[in-house]
């Protein structure tokens, strides 16, 4: 297993008291697997990703990346907020991770190509505050790609994109994933996105339980809502709905 989370529990201080956020979570992703996590707002998906990439330590349990305990830097991570450094241009933001790895020069060409791919090469020298929300999100996504890591954790990478751009990004992402053979764990609210991209979908219930759904559709998958895809989306929807809304809180 390239990524593994065993019996992980985690609590956070809220108003002076520790409140359990995650209880006894088990999760894993095989090499080259694409896993999505879905679940209601506030159930702890983002927290899970932070734990997964080693930014926080679990209270209990173990997290392994490529059979090593997860430490920051072992995997690529795209946070939910775009977190572009406001004093850096788009290009310099993209080259942040290469800089950290002392590969700034080598990666510049790649960064330019990626920027071109998402249609933002005109903004290479712009500052983040000169971009729209969706543009910023695309930059943050490219920045994560440029970490060049085997395992990527993505927190709602396409949430701020319009349907068209999103669809384009999905197709590109699928191609990229196949080509580079990365292991990807993706948090999303878009059921269609999760079905289109992943091998396996994890539903994180507000109760703290997790549920797995395999996506056994052939690749490359249809971009429109084919009957199989629609069916799966409906299944997922019913899975989430089976707990009443109020029970989250």
């Amino acid at each position: 297993m390239t990524f593994m989370m065993k019996n992980v529990s985690y609590s956070m201080k809220q108003g002076g008291q520790y409140r359990p956020i995650l209880k006894n979570i088990n999760l894993s992703a095989a090499a080259g697997e694409f896993v999505s996590i879905i679940g209601k707002s506030g159930t702890g998906k983002s927290t899970m990703l932070k734990l997964a990439c080693g930014l926080e330590k679990p209270d209990e349990g173990e997290i392994l990346i490529q059979n090593e305990p997860s430490v920051p830097g072992a995997a690529g991570y795209m946070p939910q907020k775009d977190l572009l450094l406001p004093w850096r241009t788009v290009m310099d933001n993209l080259l942040l991770s290469p800089e950290v790895q002392m590969q700034k020069k080598e990666k510049r060409k790649e960064a330019e190509a990626l920027l071109e791919r998402v249609g933002l090469s005109a903004f290479e020298k712009a500052y983040p505050h000169e971009l729209s929300g969706g543009m910023r999100q695309r930059i943050a996504f490219l920045r994560t790609l440029l970490t060049g890591k085997e395992v990527l954790f993505l927190d709602e990478p396409f949430g701020a994109l319009d349907a068209m751009t999103k669809k384009d990004m999905h197709q590109w992402m699928a191609a990229l994933w196949r080509e580079l053979n990365k292991t990807i764990v993706l948090v999303t609210h878009d059921l269609h996105e999760s079905v289109f991209l992943s091998d396996r979908i994890i539903v994180l219930h507000p109760s703290g339980e997790t549920e797995e759904i395999m996506v056994q559709l052939q690749r490359p998958r249809e971009t429109y809502l084919s009957p199989e895809i629609t069916e799966l989306i409906n299944t997922l929807e019913s899975r989430i709905t089976h707990e009443s809304y109020q029970s989250i809180f």
Binding site: P72, Q101, E130
Partner: protein
């Protein structure tokens, strides 16, 4: 030409206020309401300035050297200390109280020690300058570093950045505004420091000159030196403010846009 125009547009209010004030001051002294041996008239100061311009320039150069040397050392030392304290909490606990103590000690009381260690060379003045200027830099830089945004740090950590890289790429840029506040203060204080340093013993510099003039009861002389000291202080402050402005140019671009447009509504 345009720059001069812009300057006048920006500062005409100050210039007007200054002229008014100078006028009032001149009047107060000329009519004997303010004794000229305590506060001489602007005209007298100006005259003394012109009459002694060569000597004053010589002394100003000496003070300038001390100030710039002291300022640079204070900036380097202050930033290094702040950074070191930021990296090593234990260092902060060991040294911060000492830094505080160093500020509350009246320098005049320390003058014998300065003389003992540095003699009457330029270094005694530089030492006083450093002592005075580095405190605001330490406090501002340290505070600035501590007020960074944790989310950005996490982002860098996720990239496997070392502490030093996180510092360079996130914490340092975020500390800049606060750092520049400190630098601007220090720029002004370093002139004061050099002046005091010269009082502790010197044979050149504007502080020395002003004390000498005071000793010969030449108030015009004292104030012409003070005038130059003020000018020096303002130049240093201005330079620091300019450096700050350059640093935040990326922000300015945006402000410009918005101000231009917003101002119309207000």
């Amino acid at each position: 030409m345009n720059r001069i125009k812009a300057f006048f547009k920006d500062y005409y209010l100050f210039l007007m206020a200054a002229i008014l004030l100078l006028g009032a001051w001149e009047w107060l002294v000329d009519t004997g309401r303010l004794p000229s041996f305590i506060l001489p008239a602007p005209s007298g100061i100006l005259l003394s300035l012109f009459e002694n311009k060569d000597i004053l320039l010589f002394h100003a150069w000496a003070t300038f050297k001390e100030t710039i040397l002291g300022f640079v050392i204070a900036a380097v030392a202050g930033v290094s200390l702040a950074v070191a304290m930021f990296f090593f909490k234990s260092l902060q606990r060991t040294i911060y109280p000492g830094v505080l103590i160093s500020q509350t000690i009246p320098i005049i009381a320390l003058s014998p020690i300065f003389v003992l260690w540095f003699g009457y060379s330029i270094w005694s003045k530089v030492a006083v300058t450093v002592l005075i200027a580095f405190f605001p830099i330490v406090v501002s830089t340290y505070d600035g570093l501590n007020h960074h945004d944790r989310d950005y740090v996490d982002l860098l950590r996720s990239m496997g950045a070392r502490r030093w890289q996180i510092f360079k790429k996130v914490q340092m840029p975020m500390a800049l505004p606060s750092f520049f506040s400190g630098i601007k203060l220090a720029a002004v204080f370093s002139v004061v420091g050099a002046t005091i340093g010269e009082w502790l013993g010197a044979s050149e510099g504007l502080g020395y000159y002003s004390r000498r003039m005071s000793g010969s009861l030449n108030a015009e002389g004292v104030f012409s030196a003070i005038f130059l000291l003020s000018l020096l202080g303002m130049c240093f402050f201005g330079a620091a403010a300019l450096a700050e402005k350059r640093m935040f140019r990326w922000k300015e671009i945006r402000k410009d846009v918005q101000h231009e447009k917003v101002d119309k509504t207000q």
